[in-house]
Amino acid sequence: MSTSLMRRDGRGLLLALALWLLALAPPPVLAQAEPGDEPAQRQLREQTRQRGEFQPGEEIRQSEQVRQREQTGQREQTRQRERERAGPLNDAPMWRQARSGDEFFTTVRGPEAGVLIQDEGNTWRQMRNGPIKQYGSALLLVVLLALAVFYAVKGMIRLHAAPTGHRIQRFSMFERVVHWGTAITFVLLAVTGLAILFAKHLVAPLLGHDALGVLLVVGKNIHNYIGPVFLVFTVLMILAFARDNLWEASDRVWIRKGGGFISGEHVPSGRFNFGEKTWFWGGVAFLGLIVAGSGLVLDFPNFGQLRVTMQWANVIHATASILLIALSFGHIYLGTIGLEGAYRAMRTGYVDETWAKEHHALWYEDVKTGKPRHS
């Protein structure tokens, strides 16, 4: 049994060897035959041409042949190009495909697993680590510095007249809940968001690597779970305050006088002055919705969005957030140390009549004449 198998094995080996030799043989034979054929054909063609025999209709036939030959030549060229495109010696098209960022076949399952190289990541890296970090940090520092200088020069804007002791309602309970809901979620998101962008450069050198890790593990979760809450509050905020932030005739005066910030003059305005309206529409509504919307794209990657979508969402998110934070510095400044009575107004909902008269004269008149514009 075993011997016969061995013999068969031996015979098989011999057969394989013979086949292999045969397989090796043809190419040289062909190689010799081809150049041999070529001169023979050329000779035949040469002889025909030398004979120069013309027959009736020969000219037409010749032009027909030329046309055919041209067509054949074109077809050959196309075929050659195609061969080059797919040919084993020409890898260029394949490498272009590899770098194209297209998805190819792979057995591995995962987001964009079939992509070999994605270049957009580097673009995103350059934008995030470059302009966004540099201009962003510069903007925030400049705004903080400007506010510090303004405070040092002007101090808190105080009431001119003595408070009357009569208080009138400025914000309803609902408005205050919405405001503080937005404010608290905003501050949490701003702090954690800035930490994600900058803490690497500030916290790590000062407090060490472990502190950075703890800060960001907590921070990232706060950011990701509070984010959608911020969106809800922002929408409520827009609904609650939109009506009193519409354009009024008095806004033109306010713009012309620059809000009276430099002169110290009090420009009469309605419930909200143009500065507040700018913050409301430009900051809360416009930037707030952009930040929240782009944040959702990043927060819920489970909808199959591609990396390039999330990269751009991140660029928009970071840029709009930094602008919003810079604007919020101004709002927070005036709402706390910048303007006497402003913080109390939003905390308790009530302001003194003197405060109303000095800061929002038109609104004060509306309230006094019994036609409060807010519900």
């Binding site: 040919g87 790590a204 990701n224 990657p301």
Partner: protein
């Protein structure tokens, strides 16, 4: 000191996925995570090529540049490793990586709860003590500390996937390419190591 790199020879890769399996088995990688994958271009038509992809341990690594917690780092041998303890799963390394190397155990989960990033370690473990249980649990086997090269390359049946010192890989690949007269491109090397002129030595 050696500079460790991967090199995948597209002329030789036959898409057997042996490297993928070897990696998963050696490091007991969790479900859904594939530190290495094989991608095939022109599957089933002329010009078909397969390439094995994992972390290329880039010279100017984008993941290191964008990581908010600074947990990704280069070892002395140029291997890019990461410290899972400080990882917050933000996914930035995944956005930035040209090769799609960073993986997340929970996948693209809602609220960005991806879990801690996982990627090819060049079989060099992590920041934990060499050969400790903690290291194996988090990062898999540390073959480099045992004096061995990455298992994916060691297992490669056609030696398409090479791993080791950059200079030696270059020599082997150059000789191969010259012998066969084609396939001169070391896949992904421009992207991964192109920026570092010093590496060419």
């Amino acid at each position: 000191m050696a500079r460790m790199k991967f090199l995948c020879d597209a002329e030789r890769c036959i898409e057997c996925n042996g490297c993928v399996t070897a990696c998963k088995n050696e490091h007991e990688v969790p479900w859904g995570v594939n530190r290495r994958r094989v991608v095939t271009i022109n599957d089933g038509v002329p010009g078909e090529r397969s390439m094995s992809v994992a972390c290329m341990h880039c010279s100017d690594a984008p993941c290191i540049a964008v990581c908010p917690t600074n947990v990704i780092y280069h070892t002395e041998e140029g291997v890019v490793l990461h410290d899972k303890d400080g990882c917050i799963g933000c996914g930035y390394c995944f956005y930035a990586c040209p090769f799609g190397a960073p993986q997340f155990p929970n996948g693209p989960a809602a609220f960005g709860a991806r879990g801690k990033m996982d990627k090819c370690t060049f079989c060099a473990g992590g920041p934990e003590e060499n050969h400790s249980d903690a290291e194996f649990e988090k990062y898999g086997r540390n073959r480099l500390a045992q004096g061995k090269l990455p298992l994916c390359a060691e297992m490669c049946s056609t030696k398409a996937l090479l791993a080791g010192d950059a200079a030696e890989l270059s020599d082997i690949f150059r000789e191969r390419a010259l012998r066969r007269g084609k396939g001169f491109e070391a896949w992904g090397w421009m992207t991964a190591y192109g920026k570092d002129k010093e590496e060419a030595k």
